[in-house]
């Protein structure tokens, strides 16, 4: 199973290590991706299979992908972060002011990177404190941060696009290693780090607990509020990383960077099978979700279909993914539902599904999740 995606030679770099979760957990997504690729091959042939094209897809997916990793943690932990795009914009602007660039010139271009990371972390800290200790709904707190951070970015940049003149920085982030673009490598590294953090550390375990049942987590002695703060700081840091990447890619810092990233990231996480109510989710799913999202766009572009049609198709994918999740959620909570079949079927569902409430879903739906996006083309 874990070899399946590698067959396409594209996520071979990060695939195998990440796929070692419960077998078949993300099979449905892999099937969807394969179908998408087949559609791409049929309709665009060589242009689709071209190495440069594959790298284009991955490069595009990388930046939002990094943000999606942070978003995955926040959502598994029972929250939501609408401010990721705005925080990335703020970080990109702060890291490219004349003052920062001057300092970078005097010291090293790493100053730009560190500035972006610190700005992201601090903005995430503000989100986390307001949510965990101010007891504001995450939706509202991060919505406020969305406007505020972008506003602050505009003030700092005076609504101008700031051009980066630090060649060392630009060379590094626009370069590649053995043909793989740096941005893609960063995404791969962040994904692997995210996977390890989620599945192999106390932090990850507590994230599942806090999102799965906050009260039980609290009564088990976990400091839920502190953990919530950490989750938003983590999300902020991924925004900082994304800011570093977008600066490298566009050679600019701008308050308009990151527009709608929050929606793309949430969509990727949801498509990847993470439950919006928290407590369940996978990094591999998110990575696949992002790649599916961007591969779809690529297939559309190669077929000269409008970005509007593409937007419609993306909408369909999101709805299909969420419908699927709901079915699974009700499936795993059959004991609340009427229907006498529930008792027996509930047993079966319970067996396979919850560990992968995600999984049972994604494998089953090779149908909806995978087939439907294909149909428009």
């Amino acid at each position: 199973m874990s070899a399946a995606p590698a067959g396409h030679g594209r996520e071979a770099g990060r695939g195998p290590g990440l796929m070692s979760g419960p077998v078949g957990r993300n099979l449905g997504l892999v099937v969807a991706l394969v179908i998408l690729c087949v559609v791409g091959l049929i309709t665009a042939g060589d242009r689709f299979a071209d190495v440069d094209n594959v790298l284009t897809i991955l490069r595009g997916a990388s930046i939002v992908g990094v943000v999606s990793i942070g978003m995955t943690f926040v959502i598994i932990g029972g929250g939501i972060d609408l401010s990721v795009g705005a925080i990335a914009a703020l970080a990109s602007v702060w890291a490219t002011t004349l003052a920062t660039q001057q300092l970078a010139e005097d010291v090293h271009w790493i100053v730009i990177v560190l500035t972006a990371l610190v700005v992201g972390a601090v903005a995430g800290l503000v989100n986390g404190v307001v949510i965990a200790y101010g007891k504001l709904a995450a939706f509202i707190a991060t919505l406020a941060m969305l406007t505020a951070a972008r506003g602050l970015a505009e003030i700092i940049a005076n609504r101008r696009t700031q051009i980066v003149r630090e060649d060392g920085y630009l060379d590094f982030f626009s370069g590649d290693v053995l043909g793989v673009p740096t941005l893609v490598i960063i995404f791969a590294l962040v994904s692997v780090a995210g996977w390890v953090l989620l599945n192999r550390t106390t932090f990850g375990r507590r994230t599942f607990a806090v999102g799965g049942n906050a009260e039980a987590a609290r009564l088990a002695g976990i400091r839920v509020q502190l953990h919530t703060v950490k989750l938003y700081v983590l999300s902020g840091i991924t925004c900082g990383i994304a800011a570093v990447m977008i600066i490298g890619r566009t050679t600019t810092g701008s308050s308009t960077h990151g527009t709608l990233w929050e929606l793309e990231a949430i969509a990727a996480v949801v498509i990847g099978g993470t439950l919006l109510i928290g407590g369940r989710g996978t990094i591999v799913g998110t990575v696949l979700g992002v790649i599916i999202f961007f591969t779809l766009g690529n297939v559309f572009t190669l077929n000269d279909l409008s970005s509007s049609a593409q937007a419609v198709a993306r909408g369909v994918i999101i709805v299909a993914a969420v419908l699927l999740q709901q079915r699974l959620a009700t499936g795993s909570f059959t004991f609340r539902r009427p229907g006498d079949g529930a008792a027996s079927s509930g047993g079966a569902v319970v067996q396979g599904s919850p560990a992968g409430a995600v999984s049972g879903g994604t494998s089953d739906p090779g149908g909806p999740g995978g087939a439907r996006p294909g149909t428009p083309t």
Binding site: G212, E215, A216, A217, P338, P354
Partner: protein, 523 residues
């Protein structure tokens, strides 16, 4: 309209069984209700009342059993099916739309309309007629429901039931949100309904109300009917309480050791602990190896005391010390670090990560022990959890199994295993056998005694007085948020405890306390 046919009951439920994954909520319940009577349903939290009325409302489908309505066997496949027969349920959490008007709510789903155009005037007149019949003409049909008092909202719910021509109305703790005068008015309405041959199934914790309004009583315990058709006015209070709190089966309690030496320093010291609106001035100490029980009726403040000791609630007064060290008020993390563990009453919502595996549920409070630099040594973690599962005999002995699929007793063992792994010194147990199958209870008792023998200080809260008496070395009797007596368990018996409880609550005039707690038998 149709009078009851001689002795044929309006509703008969026979041998109703309802099982949820891991728990048997109803294990053969019988209930018969006659037209025109007020039939009271009594039982402790978790006895199965909520599940039963959900079956009656068509919201749950029973796994087994027969329901007959006016002598004919029926299936209540959906809430609509129950409603169309004439069974209406008024839930504790009123299911009204607060943004709509009174008339809108009464006719919700059956709007008065012609050609799809609503006819508010017709609806208002009809609503007004219903409310007048209920003796509440002062509730305006055009008022927004959200602006009404709880009592008026309840009347709107009843009016809705009447508008559907209900023959049987189930009222789930209707008096919980009402003051005395409002309860009187509710009773007037209930009497008027029964005079019109409507039957009412009335659920309440307040025994004096049941004497006032009820005709017959059915008592549920552990998902089964323990008594049915008792005359509401003549049955002695003591008998009713004994039916609710007593034992249907004799259990084997583990033997007590010789009393713990009284010169030993206490491990847990609670001094002058109070929580506004719940309890006050609670002091006690527990020595290592000792089990202290808190006995009292629902709402006496027992659970609140445990939760406050644990820091899950912030005490308004008093202190808690563990091993001589004062705990920070309202800090669960600190309490756990000091070696305190709580097995809460609502196991599923307060203790377990239901969708997670057994080993993750066990290790969640001890993660630091298995971590190096934040990285979990999963082999060691699983091995430790497996050892606990083995020593506690959790069945099936599969640490990867989802905790959701275990029975209540095994879920409780998982919670205990969590604290054992944490090597906690003070264990607080809230209703340790709630939702635990009757057969598995003795195992839990033996386990708790074994823990005490290993030097853990244990505090047990239970609604079942024999359980407290059988398990504990020392018993604190709680009534109305205060400790009214402290005795050695072998110096007490059930009657004595009930006397103490009733003396303690005498000035309140409420033999069974009024505080509501959610039924914990389902979710």
């Amino acid at each position: 309209m149709t009078p009851s046919l001689g002795q044929t009951p309006l509703l008969e439920m026979h041998g109703i069984v309802k099982t949820f994954p891991g728990v048997r909520a109803l294990g053969g319940v019988d209930l018969d209700v006659r037209a025109g009577e007020v039939h009271c349903l009594l039982g402790q939290n978790g006895a199965g009342k909520s599940t039963l009325i959900k079956v009656l409302a068509g919201a749950h489908q029973p796994d087994a059993g027969r329901i007959t309505w006016r002598g004919e066997e029926v299936t209540l496949g959906s809430p609509q099916a129950a409603m169309s027969l004439g069974i209406a349920t008024i839930y504790q959490e009123l299911d009204l739309v607060s943004g709509l008007t009174v008339a809108d709510n009464i006719f919700l789903g059956r709007e008065q309309s012609r050609f799809g155009i609503t006819r508010p005037a017709v609806a208002n007149t009809a609503a007004s007629r219903l409310l007048t019949r209920l003796g509440h003409p002062e509730i305006r049909p055009t008022a927004e429901v959200g602006s009404l008092s709880a009592a008026s909202q309840q009347m709107v719910s009843i009016a809705r039931a009447l508008s559907q021509d209900a023959r049987l109305i189930v009222m789930d703790e209707p008096s919980a949100v009402l003051d005395n005068e409002e309860v009187e008015r509710l009773f007037a309405v209930v009497r008027d309904l029964t005079a019109h041959d409507v039957a009412v199934v009335y659920i309440s914790h307040r025994l004096e109300e049941i004497r006032q309004i009820g005709d017959r009583i059915t008592v549920l315990k552990d998902g089964a009917t323990v008594a049915t058709g008792l005359p509401a006015r003549e049955t002695p209070t003591r008998e009713v309480i004994t039916l609710m709190t007593g034992r249907t089966i004799e259990y084997v309690f583990p033997e007590r050791r010789a009393p713990v030496a009284s010169d030993q320093a206490p491990l847990l010291e609670v001094e002058g602990l109070g929580l506004r609106g719940s309890f006050a001035g609670v002091s006690f100490a527990v020595r290592p190896g000792e089990i202290v029980g808190l006995a009292g009726l629902v709402g006496a403040g027992r659970s609140e005391i445990l939760e406050t000791v644990f820091g899950a609630r912030r005490a308004t007064t008093g202190t808690v010390r563990v091993g001589g060290k004062k705990l920070r008020n309202g800090d669960v993390g600190g309490a756990v670090a000091a070696g305190v563990g709580l097995a809460p009453e609502e196991r599923k919502s307060q203790a377990l990560l239901l969708g997670d595996s057994v080993y993750r549920n066990i290790s969640i409070s001890s993660l630091a022990r298995f971590a190096r630099g934040g990285f979990l040594a999963r082999g060691a973690e699983r091995a430790a959890a497996t050892e606990q599962v083995r020593s506690l005999d959790v069945r099936p002995a599969d640490v990867d199994r989802e905790v959701r699929t275990l029975s209540g007793g095994n879920q409780q063992k998982v919670v205990l295993a969590r604290w054992l792994l944490r090597e906690c010194r003070v264990l607080l147990l809230d209703e340790p056998t709630r939702g635990v199958d009757v057969g598995a209870r003795s195992e839990i008792y033996a386990l708790v005694r074994d823990l005490a023998d290993r030097g853990v200080a244990v505090v047990v809260v239970s609604s079942e007085i024999p359980e407290v008496l059988g398990l504990a070395d020392r018993v604190l009797v709680i009534a109305d948020g205060a400790v009214v007596a402290e005795e050695r368990a072998d110096a007490l018996d059930e009657h004595r405890v009930l006397d103490l409880v009733m003396e303690g609550t005498a000035h309140q005039g409420a033999p069974v306390s009024t505080t509501m707690q959610h039924e914990g038998d389902v979710a």
